[in-house]
């Protein structure tokens, strides 16, 4: 049977739609709760470190660009470049995860996490803001980790030559998934960190 690259990309896009709507459910909860507790959401957002958020945004944007460039490299037949762009992406992902570890770690160490005694005692808007923060960034991080694993596999595949200029769909689809992770962060960042 012949290979259908367009079909494979269509399948990936449809999967991306489902991911968008999966997060969409959370954004809907965010919208409703923000509407109900807009002042408290504003105040709670002050607790998040906008600098770390910005750093992570830059890291993710850069990582997306390098994945895209890796596709260009493989398409041009520059295998070495194709392989080399991906570690940059993975390092950016590492920076992102490390920052998130610091952020989450700090919050958990002061007792601010869903279900903690401190959290239950807060004002309603604060509780919901931090619950949403942990839920949304947690799910986003999970996607980031999965994406990193996929990209690592892809990197090996480019090296061994099973991904090449003629068979590039896996790299393209892995890239699409990675951009999705970026895309979600583009909305999470201002909604959680900036609207103070």
């Amino acid at each position: 049977m012949h290979r259908d690259d367009l079909g494979a990309r269509l399948g990936m896009w449809i999967f991306i739609f489902t991911e968008i709507l999966l997060f969409g459910g959370l954004f809907l909860v965010y919208a409703v709760m923000r509407h109900r507790y807009s002042d408290e959401f504003h105040q709670a957002a002050h607790q998040l470190n906008a600098f770390i958020g910005t750093l992570n945004t830059v890291a993710l944007l850069l990582s997306s660009a390098t994945v895209a460039m890796s596709i260009t490299a493989v398409q041009k037949g520059e295998k070495r470049m194709g392989v080399l762009f991906i570690p940059i992406t993975l390092v950016c992902a590492g920076i992102f995860l490390f920052n998130k570890y610091l952020e989450w770690g700090h919050k958990i160490s002061i007792g601010l996490y869903p279900g903690s005694d401190m959290m239950i005692g807060l004002k309603h808007g604060y509780i919901l803001f931090f619950s949403l923060y942990f839920f949304m960034t947690g799910l986003h991080m999970l996607h980031l980790v999965v994406g990193s694993i996929i990209l690592t596999i892809i990197m090996v595949r480019i090296q061994t030559g099973s991904i090449n200029a003629g068979r590039i769909t896996l790299l393209e689809n892995g890239g699409l998934y990675w951009h999705l992770v970026d895309l979600i962060w583009i909305f999470l960042f201002p909604l959680l960190y900036l609207i103070t």
Partner: protein, 530 residues
């Protein structure tokens, strides 16, 4: 590949023999059958649970078990029937078996993903069923898992919810597969408007599967997070809103009704022209109405919440949208009847089941309007009227359409015929039993019998007893049907037993592994009987 083309897909040609050759297959026809066997088991379990509830309700007061057990039984009855039988139902079984044949393809676009979906389906069902035996007893929330009760009850909600989540994932991947299949693997010359109408309905269904299921997926995760971490989204004491849960749940679960019914309508649309030997009336109207039902059906969810305390504006908007979705449904019924008009009808079992579907679907659909209307809904909300309405749609509609599809494609599936007379007797039992079972529930509901109640006032006794008798007749009908179909081999089926014009009837019964030795070139509209 070359030597497999002459073998039937039912013979073992692969690396493995016996059961293992089925469990490792990527053949869409075998996967369709595997869905069918699994679903048949779940269906029978669900039926037995239903019959047990009917026995308990035979007389007022406690008969066999207590109210908590009853709550557990109606919950698992709902979870099994909704999530593992009717939602995957026709789409997974006949979407897999027949759709690629109807569009002239060798297989679906992603055969291995297709097998993976089946394993997810089995895993999800197993997790949901395991909820009965683990933790603090069977969940008692009803299949809707309404917050805040579902976040507080001590029963084992998490397993059931997670099972539903996995089943949803399976459904998404199946939908994804079908969309790509229909876009990319139609036979040359088969434009979208030369495609038969069952694939059309599968296409519309697949989009709903893909676009609605993620919302319930995340909602179910929220329920789990609510139970484990007290995130408070749905907990008023932490500032959350239980009605938001209802929104999120029904944003999926209403479109889910169309995931169930659209393929059912598609099957009926295949059967009626074949047995009327007449071109389908209003081809484009039927194709478009499938998309319209899918599209509008996405935006009617809040009609489940008219009495929940949502805003008045929300209520009239959703009442209006609900009435709108009746239009494309009615277009279909009109066109089916229009197709039969002056056709040369042959009353074979698939056609009889299809007629049964139309009758029951009409009752279910029209009583749905009673609930779509704001004033009358307040009276019938949460009564047995609702139970009767959705069983008319989900069993009378989807169930009878499934049986119709089974009798229609059975010769193609197994290469054998079945006994028509016994099939008709089974239909008679099922049709009469079904109406005896559920029609009294309409009346009981109007009289004030609440749904999901373990006990009732004495004036409802007669109605409940008629229902119980109807349930027995229905069960007898199902048994006759299954024995007729699966107890012994019938005569060998010809390639085209019904005189159908769609592509699946041009190939051997049962089909070969590759379906088509050469992919056919399509030049005409389907259903070209003139």
């Amino acid at each position: 590949m070359a030597e497999t083309t002459t073998h039937s897909y039912l013979e073992n040609t692969g690396r493995y023999k016996g059961l293992l050759s089925w469990l490792t297959t990527t053949d869409h026809k075998r996967i369709g059958l595997m869905y069918m066997w699994a679903m048949m088991v779940f269906f029978l379990v669900g039926v037995i649970l239903g019959e047990i509830m009917r026995l308990e309700l035979f007389r007022p007061g406690q008969q066999f078990f207590n109210a908590q057990t009853y709550n557990g039984i109606f919950t698992i009855h709902g979870i099994i029937m909704i999530f593992t039988v009717v939602i995957p139902g026709l789409a997974a079984v006949f979407g897999n078996f027949s759709m690629p044949l109807l569009i002239g393809a060798h297989d679906v676009a992603f055969p291995r993903l297709n097998l993976f979906s089946w394993y997810l389906f089995i895993a999800g069902a197993a997790i949901a069923l395991a909820s009965q035996f683990m933790g603090n007893g069977p969940p008692d929330t009803g299949w809707t898992f309404y917050a805040p009760y579902s976040t507080q009850t001590h029963t084992n909600v998490v397993a059931a919810v997670f099972g539903a989540f996995v089943l949803g994932f399976s459904s998404i991947l199946t939908g994804l597969n079908f969309i790509v299949t229909i876009h990319r693997l139609r036979a040359p010359g088969m434009t979208f408007f030369k495609m038969p109408l069952f694939p059309w309905s599968i296409y519309a269904t697949a989009w709903i599967q893909v676009l609605a299921t993620p919302i319930v997926g995340i909602t179910l995760l929220m329920i789990i997070a609510e139970r484990w971490f007290r995130i408070g989204f749905f907990d008023p004491s932490l500032g959350g809103d239980p009605i938001l849960y209802q929104h999120l749940f029904w944003i999926y679960s209403h479109p889910a009704v169309y995931i169930m019914i659209l393929p059912a309508m598609g099957v009926i649309t295949e059967i009626i022209p074949t047995f009327s030997q007449k071109r389908i009336y209003g081809y484009r109207a039927i194709a478009m109405s499938s998309l319209a039902i899918a599209g509008v059906g996405y935006f009617v969810w809040a009609h489940h919440m008219f009495t929940s305390g949502i805003s008045t504006t929300e209520r009239w908007i959703f009442s209006l949208l609900t009435f709108l979705v009746a239009i494309p449904s009615a277009i279909k019924v009109f066109n089916w009847v229009g197709t039969m008009y002056k056709g040369s009808i042959s009353l074979k079992p698939p056609f009889i089941f299809a007629l049964g579907f139309i009758f029951l679907f009409m009752i279910g659909g029209l009583t749905g309007l009673v609930q779509g209307s704001l004033a009358t809904d307040i009276h019938v909300h949460d009564t047995a009227f609702v139970v009767a309405h959705f069983h008319y749609i989900v069993f009378g509609g989807v169930g009878f359409a499934f049986f119709a599809a089974l009798h229609y494609w059975y010769p193609k599936m197994f290469g054998r015929m079945y006994n028509f007379r016994r099939a008709n007797i089974a239909f008679a039992f099922m049709f009469i039993g079904f109406n005896l079972l559920y029609f009294p529930q309409f009346i009981l509901g109007l009289m004030g019998m609440p749904r999901r109640y373990f006990d009732y006032l004495p004036q409802f006794t007669a109605g409940q007893q008629i229902s119980a008798v109807g349930g027995w007749l229905l069960l007898v009908g199902i048994i006759i049907m299954l024995v007729n179909l699966f107890s012994k081999k019938g005569a060998k089926a010809p390639d085209n037993p019904w005189g159908g014009k769609t592509l699946e009837w041009t190939i051997p019964s049962p089909p070969t592994v590759e379906n088509f030795e050469n992919i056919p070139e399509v030049t005409e509209q389907p259903y070209n009987y003139d």
